[in-house]
Symmetry: C2
Subunit: 214 residues, 2 copies
């Protein structure tokens, strides 16, 4: 089990221009694109499972925000006060299923909400992070670097993301927000080892083995 005890995980899609481009998606201009994962998707060690209905499991490394104080309609200027800390997060995505959902206009549930689709690292206290927009998120598959991006390149910054989400739904203590992935996403296969971390934060590294459900 993990330290995560929240009831809600809100994820931002396409929050780095390079990543939006690599998947051929429009870059959001006026507001973040958001979706939910259930708390049952969280995993903090062991394996990441490719669901049997998918043939294309993708990694997405992201900065996670751990909410310390709930609120709604939070003003941008006060948003950071609601962050208790951070974590490295993986938004594991069944890309083939997501493509089907997108083309049909369906919600992305099957693509984003399966068990182990939300990998998290340790809780990183806010006091350990000087500037959350000066962090390097890296991810390797079998020791080969696949993603290496800076949180300075977020389209919607952390304060904007929190303010936007809380304008739609109340955020609560313990909730987790994944803030989007930089470029370099790609497929992983059973047997692959994923490692990821935040370069500037000691002991932030996570390590997972990819398996399959079949």
């Amino acid at each position: 089990m993990s330290w995560f005890h929240g009831r809600k995980i809100v994820c931002v899609g396409r929050n780095y221009a390079d990543h939006a481009r690599e998947l051929g998606n429009e870059i959001p201009k006026t507001k973040p694109l958001i979706f939910l994962k259930p708390s049952s998707a969280v995993v903090s060690e062991g394996t990441l499972v490719r669901p049997k209905y998918s043939h294309s499991l993708h990694h997405e490394v992201e900065l996670g925000l751990v909410i310390g104080k709930g609120g709604k309609k939070i003003h941008i200027d006060r948003a950071l006060e609601h962050v208790a800390g951070y974590t490295i997060g993986l938004d594991m995505t069944a890309r083939d299923i997501q493509d089907q959902c997108k083309s049909k206009g369906h919600p992305w549930t099957e693509a984003k909400c399966f068990d182990t689709s939300c990998a998290v690292g340790r809780f990183i206290s806010s006091s350990e992070v000087l500037d959350p927009h000066q962090l390097t998120l890296w991810l390797q598959v079998n020791g080969v670097t696949k993603q290496n991006g800076s949180t300075k390149d977020m389209i919607f910054r952390i304060s904007e993301v929190i303010s936007y989400i809380s304008g739609i739904m109340s955020i609560e203590e313990g909730d987790l927000i994944l803030t989007g992935t930089p470029a370099g996403v790609g497929e992983v296969f059973p047997g692959d080892v994923i490692t990821a971390g935040i370069r500037e934060v000691p002991n932030s590294e996570i390590r997972f083995l990819v398996t399959t459900d079949e």
Copy 2:
């Protein structure tokens, strides 16, 4: 506050053919269409708020399943053992926003996940319900009947819904599943009073006032 203490709400869309048709949607043939609401959306009394970013708030009356025993990949034959009880539920929907999401291939989050978008009634123990597929769901706006459908008309029955969802994500004790709405959905306006219930279940009625966020 309500009796609801779960961490996850899973909703089924288009689970009654008449309703799928009234919105011009394809009728799901092979599997249920599912999406999430966050626990922060639950309300058990008071007002239902039309978010300020929407101009078209719709009512959808639904049978809610309250999970008593968690599980994953639950077989259809054992699915009902996981139901502790039922509730009347309203899947309040920002229809204009949902239409935009559908046409862009975006997730439905803004349309389905706002505060007060999941109204619930009292907890109805399984022992109070002889056959959950012989229930009449009714909804009135200002005393005028708008929805009046039978759970016998679900495309995917309760056991299939539970089995399908649990094949994607683990369900947990306390989770709520909304099983879709029969025909007759429509817009409500600030000042409207919504009442709804399950005809065969005494004291199942709920009553909410619609307000606006503006």
